[in-house]
Symmetry: C2
Subunit: 219 residues, 2 copies
């Protein structure tokens, strides 16, 4: 039985709303829907083959994630980020991830934590010669893991609600600029800092990492 259950579990149909959400997020962060573009509900619902009501729920969430901006009379458009906003986003991101790093330092199971992080970095290394998208994904996955391992659901949730904006920052700045932030070595430094258990050092390492990353993006 155990051999056949796995494939059978595949028929968990995510709701249309979730699928629409994912599709729109991808379309926006990939630049298929360029910044400033007006989104017409009927148009999108036609494209995605879903009803407007379902679409609207997804749009509302994207709005709250900061990927969409509301204009007069509820008109939505793809948000446009300027350099200051990118710096602001990365400042908040740095605050969240430095909390994560500090928290991880004080965890009793720090050993397993750094192990998981090293695995995430290995995934980055494996993607180093892959497509740009793969590299971005593995990088974000590392940072998401950093937050997840703290066990602080609120922290993870806050970070994830920022993830869309982070992706937009990378895209807006130009993908090539973002690549320099995905050095495997720099990430190993972060894990090493956590491994020492020195919360102050870990925090400092993350803050510097984010400062550099933001600087690279807006340069």
């Amino acid at each position: 039985m155990a051999g056949v259950t796995a494939p059978l579990l595949g028929l968990q149909k995510r709701s249309l709303r979730e699928q629409a959400l994912a599709a729109l997020r991808t379309a926006i962060t990939s630049g298929e829907l360029e910044p400033g573009r007006h989104l017409v509900e009927t148009e999108l619902s036609d494209m995605l083959q879903i009803s407007r009501g379902t679409l609207r729920e997804a749009l509302r969430q994207l709005e709250q994630e900061g990927l969409l901006a509301a204009g007069p009379r509820g008109r939505l458009s793809v948000r446009h980020l300027d350099e200051k906003e990118i710096r602001d986003i990365y400042a908040v991101r740095a605050a969240l991830e430095s909390l994560a790093a500090r928290t991880l330092c004080e965890l009793p199971e720090r050993q397993q934590v750094t192990e998981s992080l090293h695995k995430a970095i290995d995934a980055m290394a494996a993607a180093a010669n892959g497509t740009l998208e793969e590299r971005i994904e593995s990088d974000l996955e590392f940072h998401r893991t950093l937050c997840r391992l703290t066990g602080n659901e609120t922290l993870l949730h806050s970070w994830e609600s920022l993830e869309g904006s982070i992706r937009m920052s990378i895209m807006f700045a130009g993908l090539e600029k973002g690549v320099s932030n995905m050095s495997v070595d720099r990430h190993r430094d972060i894990v090493a800092a956590i491994d020492t258990g020195d919360a102050t050092l870990a925090r400092k390492t993350i803050l510097e990492h984010m400062d550099t990353a933001a600087a690279n993006l807006v340069s």
Copy 2:
């Protein structure tokens, strides 16, 4: 003309969705909808006199704010916070507000900033003998102002998306416990720290404030 325009501006009908959102948030954070309670869409749409579609958009946002938890098959219930979650929420809150404090220290117009903050504290002092709700409102308004004054919209938005959880924490812990966190003096200390322009000191002051606040709530 100027004399009559003001009252005429009153007919800005917020969308039903926003009204529903506000009503539900109040109902939850006031305890009218107790934690764990199942929310039935038809029931709520009847109560609020709106359609299910409109209601669902509001529910989706409350879900993302962490006030509602999704169960199997999309069933929503009012989230229940345990002590760990309250501590986690306050850890994230501390990270955000300490970023705010640090940012404010580096602002050139620090003079006006501390002035605005002092005004917010004056409002707290004025509410000190008012109802519990007034005291909570003025306290949260101070902290929201702290974030707003940074000019970092992302920071403000992240904080606001946490506000509902903060309110739930206060309510869940019992309102009387929360009152001890609203000391006017302790808030003046925060402003004083920012006034020195010493970012490290300001950060430390906020972190201690939040540590104490969380400890008071879960004690």
